[in-house]
């Protein structure tokens, strides 16, 4: 077990290094974008004097490294600064939206992961039957359509008929059940988008193992096909499945801006897009760090779980 802890510690340290590099890259990339906050916020109404005044006010006229080091030292002290655009603390802007984003990601994952695993296992079990073909075809169809198209179709079927709301509004004081109801359509859209990947991976990993000699042995002993798959094949297929699940979870947190726009869902993606287009660097940086952390942590979790599920890695000599 000790080496697992060592791995976690090592990976966390590397994760921090990654975050540092990401922050530097994002800061530099925002710098490379044409125009800065002053020009973006004034748009067509910009005059040289007002642009200069905004730059002076917010310290945007300082050189790149001064601004970056200033930002970094504040962050190391836990201060993510204020949004350039509306002077609200970045933490305050982000916390509620992060909650919304995680809620939607977990909601979608809670539907997608079991669905994908069950479909994947059944598809492997009934390989090359009508069921296998149908579930593959449906999953591939839903992943092949662009997200907004899936979303519009769902809105046409479920929202225009009045079953579910087409835009998500979290009014103050609504209960958990009501939240689930209101965000059902975006969660369903995401479920349809991510299920195929996980299901196909589950199916492929299992089928791969089903050809190995020890499975044949199990079959020859007269075990039921279900038991062969769940008891003997699945534990050995866990590592790739865990990895693809982690990858999709990270996507659910970081890549859902299109779904957010279509359903007017107040998540992090929209905040990121607005902030980039206004060159609101403190917000862009903070959101980028959250996205990067999500990838680092989920990958770490996947690796730890794969290690735990694999006796050869757990009991190394």
């Amino acid at each position: 077990m000790a080496h697992v802890w060592r791995m976690i510690a090592q990976r966390l340290a590397l994760g921090f290094l990654t975050l540092f590099v990401v922050s530097l890259l994002i800061f530099g990339a925002t710098e490379l974008l044409p125009g800065d906050f002053a020009e973006a916020i004034l748009g067509q109404s910009a005059t040289p004097e007002t642009i200069a005044a905004i730059r002076r006010d917010l310290g945007l006229d300082l050189p790149f490294h001064t601004r970056y080091i200033g930002w970094l030292s504040n962050v190391l002290q836990g201060d993510f600064g204020k949004s350039l655009a509306n002077q609200q603390p970045v933490i305050e802007l982000i916390s509620k939206r992060l909650g919304n984003t995680l809620f939607l990601a977990l909601y979608a994952a809670a539907m997608a992961v079991p669905l994908a695993l069950i479909l994947g296992i059944l598809a492997a079990l009934f390989r090359n039957t009508v069921f296998d073909r149908m579930s593959n075809a449906l999953a591939l169809t839903s992943i092949s359509f662009p997200e907004f198209f899936v979303a519009y179709i769902l809105i046409l079927w479920f929202a225009q008929t009045g079953y579910f709301p087409s835009i998500v509004r979290f009014s103050p004081g609504i209960g958990f059940g009501e939240s689930l109801y209101r965000s059902f359509l975006p969660a369903l859209t995401l479920t349809l988008v991510v299920t195929a990947h996980m299901m196909r991976m589950t199916r492929a990993a299992l089928i791969n193992l089903l050809a190995s000699p020890y499975i044949e042995m199990a079959r020859l002993k007269g075990m039921s096909p279900m038991r062969v798959i769940l008891r003997h094949a699945l534990p050995n297929a866990l590592a790739p499945i865990i990895n693809v699940v982690a990858l999709n979870l990270a996507y659910l947190i970081t890549g859902v801006v299109v779904v957010e726009v279509v359903f007017v869902y107040p998540g992090l993606g929209q905040l990121m897009v607005d902030s980039v287009s206004r060159r609101d660097i403190p917000v862009v940086q903070a959101v980028a760090l959250i996205f990067a952390s999500a990838y680092v942590l989920l990958n770490l979790t996947a690796d730890v779980l794969s290690t735990l599920s694999n006796p050869r890695l757990m009991h190394r000599r």
């Binding site: 044409p34 916020i41 006010d57 609200q88 509620k96 835009i167």
Partner: protein, 523 residues
């Protein structure tokens, strides 16, 4: 000697009423089919879905730029003056105003008994601090250029404000209706730009930028015949399809910026009215008059004649607009030239003739477009390119990135797309974008006669003389200017039939001059 300018003095000339035939405020539905505008009823929460608004929106009046912040601001704030549905100026916080004979000194009487939401009584100091927020060396306000003409602003007693201008401006009270110039409470001579306090129709309950704003009716609002809703919920719904869906499924009551590609489908939906208002919003293609080949007026005239305006209105605006005559004054303005200037039409032969005058057989130009300039700008460029080919003009359409369009393309590339929300007065529009050396003179056009007329008309208080001058200026911009103005785009909104609009909806801005919250009501 002071000359009093009364409300009637500034009312739109009756001549222009005739111009409503051109669609000064044409509602799509025949009058009989509209919900009867009976006595307004109080009650209900109006939910508005706006096609703008983002997480970067701020409460600072100097930063308001899109319709979301503008409607939001107008719901909770008052201004010195208000433009009514006919384009005439009405008193708001200013009860009345007077100009000196040269129109360079303006005295505003401030209304007594108006209080802010916080309970503070409004006086001259608040007005002065609110205007000063946009002035001065350190101003970061987008409205700085429009108050630049003010040299001094001071109180004369607790309820009188005297404004001194650099030079006479007969339209100055109009400028005071600008959406940036909201009256906020002053503290130690300055306003707090992060304050939510105002003296308008609705009090802010909560505001989450990019998500929603909630307001409730101000129980102490001084206008007793306005603000009929119990509350307002203002939602940014940037995606056009999402906005329409929200209206169809009853999650909002009003939307703006109806997608013109699908408006005919929306009109079929039950219980929904589409509202289309011809205002001063226009789409333009400025040419850099300093750079060849646009420095030659013959080239500019050739290009102007090679644009099929009817087709642009038909295909880009889906019919929801009117053709432009290469000048920026709309039928909603007081001094629109009307029949005094002949409507320019597509004429390939004339375009060729002008090219020949310029000593050319053919012309190669590049047009920079992006949908950031206006929705459909790229398509408009392609249509123009098709049509101008017949006149020997090879117009290459270059699609530019929407991101950073206003800082990198507009006024940087010699020929680009742009738009104007329009201004309520001729002087304002001309001095913003057509005067020599103006900050936003996007075509860098300079014309001595035009500048001279502009200065003369500004301080002229005789409306007939002003009209003459403004018509001549429209002609100058049309025939010598360096901007193609092919179309005026309607403001197209939609609302559920439960919502009642006044008989006439204001054309000066979208959403009834941004005043939907205080002018409309539920049936």
């Amino acid at each position: 000697m002071t000359k009093s300018i009364t409300r009637t003095g500034l009312t739109r000339r009756s001549v222009l009423r005739g111009a409503t035939a051109l669609g000064a405020a044409a509602l799509i539905l025949p009058a009989g089919m509209r919900a009867a505008s009976a006595e307004p009823k109080k009650g209900g929460i109006l939910r508005i879905g706006m096609g703008s608004g983002s997480t970067s929106d701020s409460l600072d009046p100097g930063s308001w730029a899109d319709a979301y912040t503008q409607v939001f601001a107008t719901s909770r704030h008052n201004y010195l003056t208000e433009i009514d549905a006919d384009g005439a100026l009405q008193p708001e916080i200013a009860e009345s105003w007077e100009a000196s004979a040269d129109a360079a000194t303006w005295t505003f009487k401030i209304r007594q008994g108006v209080t802010f939401h916080s309970g503070k009584a409004l006086d001259a100091e608040d007005v002065i601090a609110s205007i000063n927020h946009h002035r001065g060396e350190d101003s970061t306000s987008a409205a700085k250029p429009i108050v630049e003409g003010i040299t001094e602003i001071k109180a004369d007693g607790s309820h009188t404000v005297v404004v001194t201008l650099e030079s006479g401006n007969a339209d100055f009270p109009f400028i005071m209706s600008d959406y940036h110039l909201a009256i906020l409470p002053a503290k130690d001579g300055a306003i707090d730009p992060a304050s939510t306090d105002g003296c308008g129709a609705y009090v802010l309950d909560s505001f989450e930028p990019g998500v929603e704003a909630r307001l409730t009716r101000n129980p102490n609002y001084w206008k007793t015949d306005r603000a009929h809703f119990d509350g307002i919920e203002l939602l940014p719904i940037v995606d056009g399809a999402a906005r329409q869906n929200a209206l169809i499924s009853g999650q909002v009551d009003v939307i703006d910026r109806v997608d013109l590609n699908t408006v005919h489908l929306l009109k079929r939906a039950a219980n929904i009215n589409v509202l289309s208002v011809t205002g001063s919003q226009h789409y333009v293609f400025p040419m850099d008059s300093r750079a060849a080949p646009f420095s030659d007026n013959n080239v500019r005239m050739a290009i102007k004649h090679a644009v099929d305006r009817e087709e642009l209105v038909e295909k880009i605006l889906n019919g929801y607009g009117t053709v432009g005559n290469d000048h920026p004054i709309s039928t909603a303005n007081r001094f629109h030239a009307g029949d005094a200037l002949e409507q320019r039409t597509y004429d390939a032969d004339k375009a060729k003739w002008y090219l020949k005058q310029a000593g050319m057989d053919s012309l190669d130009i590049e047009l920079s477009v992006s949908d950031a300039a206006f929705g459909g700008a790229v398509d408009a460029g392609v249509l123009m390119s098709e049509k101008s080919a017949a006149a020997g003009i090879n117009l290459t359409v270059k699609r530019e990135p929407a991101d950073g369009y206003w800082s990198n393309i507009w006024m940087k590339k010699p020929f680009a797309a742009s738009y104007w929300g329009g201004r309520p007065t001729e002087d304002w529009m001309f001095s913003t974008a057509y005067k020599s050396g103006a900050n936003w003179n996007e075509s860098f056009w300079e014309n001595a006669r035009f500048d001279q007329l502009l200065a003369a008309a500004r301080s002229e208080l005789d409306n007939d003389k002003r009209r003459e001058m403004y018509v001549e200026m429209q002609g100058l911009v049309r025939d010598e200017g360096s901007t193609i103005i092919p179309m005026f785009a309607n403001y197209v909104m939609a609302h559920s039939t439960a919502v009642v609009t006044p008989e006439k909806v204001a054309p000066n801005w979208t959403m009834d001059g941004f005043r939907v919250a205080e002018r409309w009501w539920f049936a």
